[in-house]
């Protein structure tokens, strides 16, 4: 099979002695670092840890649902397990996944800067994440919380005696961690671009992270104040969300979804950025309709703030507002479709090769399209009333978040792994892992669409026996999926020591991050680069190579 991988001669190649990993040694040099690449590494380790906690909880859920009765755990315990699964996966994995790790690592490199604009704030963001993570772990150890990750009032304020307060505060702190990441990205993209790096020469990964950062900065504070109100409600009994005191539980829904709907775009937009980079690199073509893809990210960010009430169609909002929000929800499908179509056109007549990042990217395109289309079903008020609170919702959300975002995350990790560590991951086994993930994913979540349309409600430990066969399918698929996620951990760790030396630019990609050594220097570039070509200009790259050959010859 053809490939574009171009590695230096392995017998002579060495990892550069001086790089950001070897510059300083010792635990303190990591804990007090201001280097965006080290903070990204810290984030990568932390979110992987939480991903496996969340994943283990998901495993428990699927194990319980193997049989119609609630026999593995009590219904109460089941509620806690799915709540903690949601809280950890949403706030401790998906939200920081691509931005805080890959984004943190490559955005300064891509714009040609030495670091993010505010390195100390970047470190603070990681510490806040760790503090929040400890609070979440404390919550689990102390007995958990069973409100669902949505904290629906008055359930969360009046009817439960689990650890709502510590979970709420954990998410509050995690929220500030995400605000600081977003703020840092926006400032960096505005103020730290290298000479010649105009807005329309930025890689699309930067555009999509910029859009996600806008959402983090504008949306997260609203979630923060909402959680403060929940905590106050439980501690001093204030009643803004308590109908008995004249408060309004719907107000909670409005405030919560004002953040939490944009939050799903915080999770998906950076993933879309990864896909743009990967698709372009492995089809050797500039992304089709660069400007349209760039602006579609911003359009998604803007629309994101005007669709939140589609989570509330059955909660007694007025028919007219349901109508308007339904229409606006359909509109979000447009910029998402622009991206999918443009990626497809990028592939058209490109020299496509099938390295691991590309396989994950194909997974993303297929699964995200299904996830997005089913979102249109749910945005239509009529079908929503039939499908909401069933497994259809669960399947839709996981198609977008696991099939979409997690695939994009893995694609990005493989794509930038050579830059990050200086070594290649093993190609064959990782292609296998991508395939296993794709198969496992479809086995796990596709049956849930059927279960949902048949009417199986979500969030119950028990279900009618006629749903069992599809649930067995789903649980079996989850096992395959689990293998698909364990494999990368193993071979990526292996590659740290035994992987092939990658050299500066193993993919023949055009971004500025590939124009410096791997792993990069602490200050990223020996000298600040000057951007003298458009983004994704592969002809420019060819000319560069010929020039080098000529000058060496």
């Amino acid at each position: 099979m053809s490939t574009i991988i171009n590695l230096p001669d392995q017998s002579t190649a060495r990892i550069p002695k001086m790089n950001f990993l070897t510059k300083e040694n010792g635990l303190l040099s990591w804990l007090l670092t201001g280097d965006h690449k080290r903070i990204a590494t810290l984030y990568l380790i932390s979110i992987t840890f939480f991903f496996f906690i969340g994943g283990a909880l998901a495993g428990l859920i699927r194990l319980e649902l193997l049989t119609p009765q609630s026999d593995l755990m009590a219904a109460d315990t089941y509620n806690k397990v799915f709540t903690m699964h949601g809280v950890i996966m949403v706030f401790f994995f998906l939200v920081p996944s691509v931005p805080a790790t890959i984004g943190n690592f490559v955005i300064p490199l891509m714009v040609g800067a030495r670091d993010l604009a505010l390195p100390k704030v970047n470190l603070l963001s990681w510490y806040l994440y760790v503090i929040a993570g400890c609070m979440a772990i404390y919550t689990m150890a102390a007995g958990g919380v069973d409100t669902g990750w949505t904290f629906t009032t008055p359930l969360s304020t009046h009817y439960l005696n689990t650890h709502v307060i510590s979970t709420g505060l954990a998410i509050f702190v995690a929220g500030f961690s995400s605000i600081f990441t977003g703020l840092n990205f926006i400032v960096t993209i505005h103020k730290m671009r290298a000479p010649g790096m105009t807005w329309f020469r930025l890689p699309l990964f930067v555009w999509s992270n910029y859009a996600a950062s806008l959402l983090m900065v504008l949306g997260t504070p609203v979630l923060a104040i909402t959680l403060v109100l929940i905590v106050l409600e439980r501690t001093v009994g204030i009643g803004v969300f308590d109908p008995a005191k004249g408060g309004d539980p719907l107000l909670f829904q409005h405030l919560f979804w004002f953040y939490s709907h944009p939050a799903v775009y915080i999770m998906i937009l950076p993933g879309m950025g990864v896909i743009s980079e990967v698709i372009s690199t492995f089809s050797r073509k500039r992304v089709f309709g660069y400007t349209a893809v760039a602006f579609s990210s911003v359009a998604i960010a803007v629309f994101a703030f005007f669709v939140w009430a589609h989570h509330m169609f059955i909660m007694g909002i007025s028919n007219y507002s349901a109508l308007v929000f339904s229409l606006l929800t359909m509109l979000v499908a447009v910029p998402s479709a622009i991206k999918i179509f443009n990626w497809t056109f990028t592939l058209y007549k490109g020299s496509v090769t099938f390295e691991t990042p590309m396989l994950y990217a194909f997974g993303f395109m297929g699964l995200f399209t299904i996830g997005g289309m089913t979102g249109v079903f749910l945005g239509a008020t009529g079908t929503d009333i039939h499908l909401t609170e069933t497994y259809f919702i669960v399947a839709h959300f996981h198609f977008v978040m696991v099939g979409g975002m997690l695939m994009a995350f893995l694609s990005g990790i493989h794509f930038w792994w050579p830059k990050w560590t200086g070594r290649m991951y093993p190609e064959k086994i990782s292609q296998l892992a991508a395939l296993i993930t794709f198969i496992g994913f479809n086995f796990t979540f596709f049956p849930q669409f059927i279960l949902g349309t048949l009417g199986m409600p979500r969030r119950y430990a028990a279900y009618p026996p006629e749903f069992q066969s599809l649930n067995v399918f789903s649980s079996a698929g989850a096992t395959i999926l689990g293998v698909g996620y364990l494999l990368p951990i193993l071979y990526l760790t292996w590659s740290l020591k035994y992987g092939e030396i990658a050299g500066e630019n193993p993919w023949q990609a055009t971004g500025l991050e590939w124009m410096t050594q791997s792993p990069p220097l602490t200050e990223n570039f020996p000298e600040i680069p000057i951007m003298d070509h458009e983004a994704y200009d592969y002809e420019w790259l060819e000319r560069q190579k010929q020039k080098e050959v000529a000058s060496v010859g």
């Binding site: 604009a117 505010l118 103020k191 949306g219 609203v222 104040i225 001093v236 204030i238 803004v240």
Partner: protein
């Protein structure tokens, strides 16, 4: 960057690592120029204030909805606030914004003495604000107007039982289901002014830190970013109060 610093540092550059020598000591290494550093941190501060607006925005939304629903309760409950103290506090904060602005100016002019005076005055005015606020809060506690902890709606079921306020406003008794909504007003009052006071306390702590740093010449050698960005924060907290004052104190007066 002033030329004299550049020359002085440039002379030393030959002996030390050249990367360190070319710029003034307060320029962080990942910035190309001092101008870029100033622009970036300033822009970051504005963005942070934007998140603060969204943070308070949630509370203001709750306030506006509840006020529309329970307008009579909000009017009578607001009569329990002392407009005199509120006006005094508004004045205190506006003056403190002025002294803060003068502080930024002194730092730009490299006048250390004046900077210390203005930062000190700003600190005193900030403390005065909190002092007045605590007088108001303790008044609420005495009258059982602290929702959740020490609450009674007697003043609204029977306004005549509260002669001081009654004398001024002659409020009619509220029906019980409306009278109990005054608790909502007071909750929002405490949440909004409390969140504002928390920002004041954070501001005052930073001010104290800054006074120590200013004594050590940190802000009068050309690097005013910190003072200027803190000034932005301080003005922002004042502006929040400028909105809180009419919304909470003056409901029936305009």
């Amino acid at each position: 960057m002033s030329d004299s610093t550049a020359v002085a540092n440039g002379a030393a550059a030959g002996t030390v690592d050249s990367h360190h020598g070319e710029h003034p000591p307060y320029q962080r290494h990942h910035f190309e120029t001092v101008g870029q550093q100033f622009d970036a941190t300033n822009f970051a501060m504005w963005l942070f204030l934007l998140t603060e607006i969204m943070f308070f925005g949630g509370l203001f939304t709750a306030y506006l909805i509840m006020r529309n629903w329970y307008y009579p309760a909000f009017v009578e409950a607001s009569h329990q606030l002392n407009v005199g103290w509120g006006t005094a506090n508004t004045g205190v904060l506006i003056v403190s914004s002025f002294t803060m602005a003068m502080g930024v100016w002194s730092a730009e002019m490299r006048k250390k003495g004046l900077l210390l005076v203005f930062l000190g005055l700003t600190l005193l005015l900030g403390l005065a604000f909190l002092g007045i606020k605590s007088i108001e809060y303790s008044e609420k506690w005495e009258k059982h107007h602290v929702p959740g902890l020490n609450w009674s709606d007697a003043s609204f079921l029977n306004p005549a039982s509260d002669p001081e306020v009654y004398k001024e406003y002659h409020d009619k008794p509220l029906p019980p289901d409306m009278a109990e909504k005054t608790e909502m007003y007071f909750f929002l009052y405490f949440a909004m002014t409390g969140m504002h006071a928390l920002h004041m306390i954070i501001g005052i702590s930073i001010l104290i830190f800054m006074i120590f740093r200013a004594r050590a010449d940190a802000y009068t050698t050309g690097h005013v970013t910190y003072v200027e960005n803190f000034g932005l924060y301080w003005h922002f907290v004042d502006i929040v109060w400028i909105f809180l004052f009419p919304l909470l104190y003056l409901i029936s007066r305009y």
